[in-house]
Amino acid sequence: MAAHSGCGGIALPRPEGNYGEMTIALPARTERRGFGIDVSKPVLYGFAVILCLLIVLPLSWLLLYSVTDAKGAFTLNNFYRLFTESSFYDPLVTTFILATSSAFICCAVAAPMGWLVARTDLPFSAIIRALVTASFVTPPFLGAIAWELLAAPNSGLLNKIARDWFGMAPDQHLFNIYTLPGIIFVISCYTFPYVFVLVANSLDRTPGELEDASSILGGGRWYTARRVTIPLVLPALLAGALVAFLQAMTLFGSPAILALPAGFHTMTTKIWSLFQFPPKPELAAAASLPLLVLTVILLRAEHMILGRRGYSVVGGKYGAPRLIPLHRWRWPAFALCLFVLLNPVFLPYAALFNAAFSPVASTFLTVHNFTLHNVNFVLFELSAASLALKNTVILGTATATIGTAIALVIAYVTARQAVTGWRALGFLATAPIAVPGIVLGVGLFLSYTRPPFVLYGTLWILLIAFVTIALPSAYQQLQAAFRTIHPELEDASRILGATRLRSLWQITAPLLRTGVIATWCFIFVGVMRELSAAIILFTSETKVVSVLIYDLNESGDLGAISVIGLGMLLITFAVVIAVNRIPGFGNVRFRT
């Protein structure tokens, strides 16, 4: 994602406050004389208002509901029930175990892999990156369904193979996906790309000169890693752990598919069950607040651990990172990466392929039993499919475009501290990460089903939900991109008389190009993956593919799901490749 240019250049750990002061200290008034009116301020404040509408409105409704009873009177009884009834605190404990374990596993797997790919002469590292991208674009709920096909205790394909190989009894099994460890495993499969990408990108951006300097001064390889490389990557790793934790905590699809058959709830499925008929939104609102509080605490903790350290690593020019030779460990390392990727990519897609073309999902596909029955059903009989597909593509494109635009502006404002109150803007843009999609869905439902904003039943309400959900990660990605571009480049342009917008357009935008495209694709993929808010907000006319798949799963139509899932992957890749080929954007590799 980093902008590549020649060699040379420096990277210095730098207190965050410094460059901000420099920007603010510029003589702002001279601009008006030079190039007419600087419209940046009104634009920036406009975005602040949009953010408030997007986030504050639904959250206010949620807060209000959490302290009211069914009749609308003030009460704290919802919270009392939350912490005294085992049907509430059991899921809370389960969720905590789930999220912690997933975050730990993700870091343990993704960090070494990220290092291997970015910093060593690992063979085919581009293929490894592409495969991680493939696991990222796989919706977690689809992965969960695929793992049902693979590791359900009796009908799972892996268990069938195990019985064949090890001569186990018909009712014995090797794997059982309908357990807490099973769910942790599946969630980790589709969360580790977040950590991988953050670590690998951070290593990509870290110039080799610092490490060179360390070794020239006599530091051994291990010493250099400990004192230079690891501290430089630590912010990314911590951010990765945090994202993994929050993902695992707020995920709805995978636990709904795997935990409910096993007879237990996580927080998200519990909240969802509270919206089933007869809905109890006040209890659900209260149940979502612990998740919100926990997230805020974690974000604060991350901030405290990282302290005031920030790194500007793209000044003007910098050198490509030096690759560490693995020698005889090259191929074992490659094999290890492939083994890890077996779990989120090869096995699940093999299972989906098998289910798509075999007569029964748990039967192994052969030349003799090959059938197009499921393809036929999805293409010619499933009457909801074409509408859902159309809605999904429209929403994906619109959300990605609008979301990237908003995130870009906010990231700029906070990275350059361009308006007073930028901290609040940054907080608002990050806040939705603390709100499980399903809870946001209900907040939006409460906000937009009554006048003056009646948006329920239209694609608009889904667009708002998806933009809000996409905002935190889009904002963080772009903010990270901004942080690596030193403001001195903009400052130079402004000293020479350009307005802020002109410097943005001519200096910053070209440097950010890759980051913007990556963010666009990231959001588009996110819309394909999104289920938890959509499941509250859809109507029959505004159904999306993820909801369709979830519907099909609840009635056990696994063959149809497999066909749609494979089709979804094709569409996603087609869109991502097409966007990367848009003329003017240049030919940029997409790294998640």
Binding site: P170, S273, Q276, S362, L382, V454, T539, S540, S555
Partner: protein, 355 residues
């Protein structure tokens, strides 16, 4: 069978209603509108609207087949199926109508209690297709002409024939509590499925909640739709299903799948799935056409032959090889009681099964 007492009002209603007079009392007849045939004018008007949206809880592949057969019969009118569990259909329509969104034309639910609620709320259109008026027994149509029994079936026990020998298969609900079935049973959810909601009502009434408490101790696999347990059996994921659709078992076993039905000695819960159209239907003529088509012998024979369902239309034939409906011992259905108890049933169920 025509009623001998003909009131003045009946005469005013017109000859078609009179022709339709089967076993009605005059009082009942006075509320329902006259029977409507499928006329060329209706077909023409439906074609102008071009589509019909059908909310249903029928198992999806079957629902799509019904829609396709409608489209084949009336080219120019497409039928879109919105399929989910009956309890979700109910929630969905409630949520949409609460926000003034009128997307549903025709609904079919596996929880007959929903039609009691919709009728009370004044959402249903009184529309009596000719077939319903002429052929359907009184207990299978609304006296005010707002809905009739599109499909009837039972919620049954079944087993995977590869995993269980027929002589070892459970014969009754009580048999399911045998420790040998621990970890081998799959069952569906009354919070999702209207079939299971209706069945759970009848079973707790006849067998008591104690049965469910003991069943929960068997480590059951909990799925959502009543169409899913038969499919899990076919996969070989579980050996026995404690509840689920008889019609899915027929569909699978007649295609060679390794499943077989069991009609419990205590009686199998009887499920009735009515169809009715909505007053505020966005495509009112197509809605009428679809509703009328639903009750024709043609469509009813289709749901028997392809779907494995039972029909109340006397002009249909049961498929050989299936246990005739009359020979099955069923529990008594009582939609009015289900309507009163549905929240209580869901809560009690969650308490026992945790999800």
């Amino acid at each position: 069978m025509r009623d001998s007492r003909i009131s003045r009002r009946d005469v005013l209603i017109g000859s078609s209603a009179l022709a339709a007079g089967t076993a009605f009392s005059t009082k009942v007849m006075s509320a329902a509108p006259p029977a409507s045939a499928i006329t060329p004018q209706l077909i023409e008007a439906a074609k102008k609207e071009g589509k019909v949206v059908w909310y249903t809880s029928v198992d999806l592949p079957l629902a799509e087949k019904i829609a396709k057969s409608f489209e084949a019969k009336f080219p120019g009118v497409t039928a879109r199926v919105e399929r989910t569990g009956a309890e979700r259909v109910f929630q969905r329509i409630g949520q949409e109508y609460g926000s003034n969104i009128h997307a549903v034309d025709v609904a079919n639910s596996s929880d007959a209690a929903h039609f009691i609620v919709w009728k009370k709320q004044g959402l249903l259109e009184a529309y009596v297709p000719e077939d319903v008026a002429k052929f359907y027994p009184t207990e299978h149509k609304d006296p005010d002409g707002m809905f009739a029994s599109f499909r009837v079936w039972v919620c049954i026990i079944a087993y995977n024939t590869n995993l269980v020998k027929s002589e070892e298969a459970p014969k009754s609900f009580a048999d399911l509590l045998d420790p040998k079935w621990k970890g081998k049973i799959v069952k569906a959810h009354p919070g999702y499925s209207g079939t299971i909601m209706t069945a759970t009502y009848q079973m707790q009434r006849d067998l008591g909640w104690g049965f469910f408490e003991k069943l929960a101790a068997q480590n059951i696999m909990q799925v959502q739709s009543s169409a899913d347990p038969p499919k899990r059996l076919a996969l070989g994921e579980r050996a026995v299903m404690a509840d689920g659709n008889e019609y899915n078992i027929f569909q699978i076993s007649e295609k060679g799948g390794p499943v077989a039905p069991v009609y419990a000695t205590e009686g199998s819960p009887l499920i009735v799935g009515p169809t009715g159209m909505f007053k505020a239907a966005p495509n009112p003529n197509a809605a009428k056409l679809f509703t009328a088509y639903s009750f024709t012998p043609e469509c009813q024979q289709l749901i028997i032959d392809v779907g494995g369902l039972r029909s109340m239309h006397p002009d249909t034939k049961e498929k050989p090889g299936r246990t005739p409906f009359k020979q099955i011992k069923v529990m008594k259905d009582d939609p009015a009681a289900v309507e009163k108890m549905s929240d209580e049933i869901k809560q009690h169920y969650v308490k026992i099964f945790h999800v």
